[in-house]
Amino acid sequence: MKIRSLALAVSMATIGLTSAVTSTAAFAQAKEQFFPVLVYRTGAYAANGNPWANGYVDYLKLVNAQGGINGVKLSFEECEFGYATDRGVECYERLKGKGATVFQPLSTGVTFALTDKAPVDKIPLITAGYGRSESQDGSVFMWNFPLLGTYWVAADVAIQHIGKQAGGLDKLKGKKIALVYHDSPFGKEPIPMLQERAKMHGFELMLLPVAHPGVEQKATWLQIRQNRPDNVLLWGWGVMNSTALKEAQATGYPREKMLGVWWAGAEPDVKDVAAGAKGYNALALQHSAEPKSKVVADVLAQVHGKGQGTGPKEEVGQVLYMRGLISAMLAVEGVRKAQERYGKGKVMTGEQVRWGLENMNLDQKTLDAMGFAGVMRPVQTSCLDHMGASWVRIQTWDGSKWVPGNDWYQADEKLLRGMVLNASRKYAEEKKITPRTPEQCKQ
């Protein structure tokens, strides 16, 4: 028995080594643009990871159904990492070997780990709505693209919105605002911006961390019950959000006074609480649930209609599905822009895609033509601004669906710029990076 099991172990190890070696060598095909998809369909964050991944993959399929990018077909492969940073890095290394030219990790922890690797491997990193806030400064963070918004934008807009509801930012003086956050780089990102705003307007900021994965929040909400903050900002992800809403219900904290970040404002977060979450607000990264948009109709007709859809049909057009879809669209548009310069109908390299992302200019007409009318506003990136847009809406859960508000907010450009430059200069100094000059930017 022992020898047999040993033989088994040895043979398995051999197969393992050979498969690991060959699998990385076997993928060297040329005529397809390869899109790696880092996903988490299992684990504590699967409920939120799934729709994002479905939207991402469905959009790539849609582009293929419409003939690819100027004739270049897209290929893709998923890699499951369960929101664990070390497995995410393993996935990165695995898919990098297969010719990846752009990565979207959907995890702030993985983004931090990859930020140092991207310049070496020459692969751009899109972090649409998450990641390092200071990476907006493209002169230092040449390979990071926090497109559409960062957590500093989110924090800034959240305070603007609360101020507006209170009747002006000056009315915030003496108020108490609590931040209930996921205790990870993701949750800690908004703190500097909130502290800055607290200093400006004289409100008190309560910091209430929640440990991963966020199912234990009794102590946090006890503190909220004792201190009765005027507003609660919810910076959660996955199961933490629905738990927070249930606790708010149990504590009797008014949901109308709660404002979630855009990762705490999707269907999986509220559907377990349904009516209990009525009145809860969340930031919307431009889009909310968009089941009526043209791009969703296209996906339903050309992908799901042919039986090639990813995931359940009913979820097409939900908030996180749309986020995944838009993320994929941004990557595809980066490649398209790069093709304009480096040759249409060719497969782009990581460096070329980086140029495409840095010079992306999606105006409203283009977006409308692609079916994003009413979903998105224009995005224009540059060397100094890798974010491209900072438009945010507020959406409200009415007990059965998300309803987007009519007001569009934008981050305070002066405040944001100052903080971004401070932080990015500090990073550049630490890492001994010389920021690119405007001349170098033009290349």
Binding site: K2, S19, A25, E80, T85, G109, A113, I191
Partner: protein, 358 residues
């Protein structure tokens, strides 16, 4: 037939007491080390280095440290992750706060800080044993998790709580290519492995084993339990701390406290239990099992499905990976409760008799 020591006569004490008394063993180990230093860098690609070999080497070092404490001294610990974290954060702080601190100096100082903390958190072992001690060491895990998340000084006031290290410089040798990182880790592991092996053969290791086997009897024959237990905690924490610093510096590059969570502690404990308690080679087997097997399963299952024309969804692969991994752990523990190292020893024993078993 080949693996037999007939005709190898030991004519001195030195020959009798060397680490590998059988010539074939000696040559095989030297050949493996030579292959690891020369052959692997020529053969392996970047993915092999970064995703498999480097994590394997560093976690082997950590498992080695845990094995010294759990396997040789019999003190169960669930705080290994915390000591990795102490090593990593201490080394980070030494590196950035002291100008001109060399990489090796930071790693060693990180290890020493971890050793000091190991002694501190080892003090309960003088009073409590077994499961109770495990719970006491768990306290170290939670305390340090908390400390690195909350005390901003440790992370150099980084707003996100994530710290990063770059430009590793080892006496003028800049370690940045994957093969260089691999060689650096391998070099460290060889040095520390030799150190550990010799320690377990020397007086200090014999004291640990005496304490493990029966502490009252050990005390009667003149072994000081306090010295033996605390030295085991110190040495083990030193190993684990250096491994933690290397995990942060060499493997991750930038990390957050979650990299050294309680999961890591359990992982390390499983490595030594599955690999073999009280065995140096067992630490390597255990680390290989825990690090490589999940990644291997994750890649093999879709390929296997493809062979039969079935496409398995990403989620299903991930679930299957966990199921098979769990089943294999149970399987190996039933087949050989003393770990993979014992399996290895048994097969060597059989090989010596082959082809004429009794």
């Amino acid at each position: 037939m080949i693996y037999r020591e007939n005709g190898q006569f030991k004519t001195s004490y030195g020959a009798d007491q060397q680490i590998f008394p059988i010539a074939q063993d000696r040559w095989a180990v030297l050949a493996i080390i030579a292959f690891a230093f020369i052959g692997v860098p020529l053969l392996a690609d970047e993915y092999m280095f970064r995703a498999i070999l480097i994590p394997f080497l560093i976690l082997s070092l950590a498992a080695l440290g845990v094995n010294l404490l759990v396997g040789y001294c019999g003190q169960i610990t669930l705080g290994a992750g915390a000591f990795m974290a102490i090593g990593a954060y201490a080394a980070y702080n030494f590196l950035i706060r002291i100008d001109g601190m060399p990489l090796l100096g930071a790693l060693i100082l990180g290890g020493l800080t971890s050793a000091a903390m190991g002694i501190l958190f080892g003090i309960p072992s003088l009073r409590v044993r077994g499961l109770y001690l495990a719970v006491a060491t768990l306290a170290a895990q939670f305390f340090w998790d908390w400390a690195f998340l909350r005390i901003k000084w440790f992370t150099n006031d980084s707003s996100s709580g994530s710290v990063s290290v770059s430009n590793l410089d080892f006496f003028g040798w800049t370690i940045d290519a994957p093969a260089e990182k691999y060689l650096f880790c391998l070099g460290m592991l060889v040095v520390f492995g030799l150190l550990a092996k010799n320690m377990t053969r020397a007086s200090i290791g014999r004291q640990w084993m005496a304490i493990r086997d029966m502490d009252v009897a050990a005390e009667v024959i003149g072994i000081r339990p306090m010295w033996a237990k605390l030295s085991a905690f110190a040495v083990s924490s030193f190993f684990v701390g250096v491994a933690g610093a290397m995990w942060g510096f060499v493997h991750l590059g930038s990390w957050e406290p979650a990299a050294f969570s309680v999961d890591r502690s359990f992982q390390l404990l499983f490595m030594v239990i599955i690999g073999g308690l009280g065995s140096i080679v067992g630490s390597f087997f255990g680390a290989a099992f825990i690090v490589i097997l999940p990644i291997f399963l994750n890649q093999m299952l879709p390929a296997l499905g493809g062979l039969f024309g079935v496409s398995i969804s990403t989620a299903a692969v991930s679930h299957a990976e966990l199921i098979i991994f769990g089943v294999l752990i149970v399987f190996f523990l039933i087949v050989e409760p003393h770990g993979l190292a014992r399996l290895w020893a048994t097969s060597k024993e059989k090989l010596r008799l082959w082809p004429f078993p009794h």
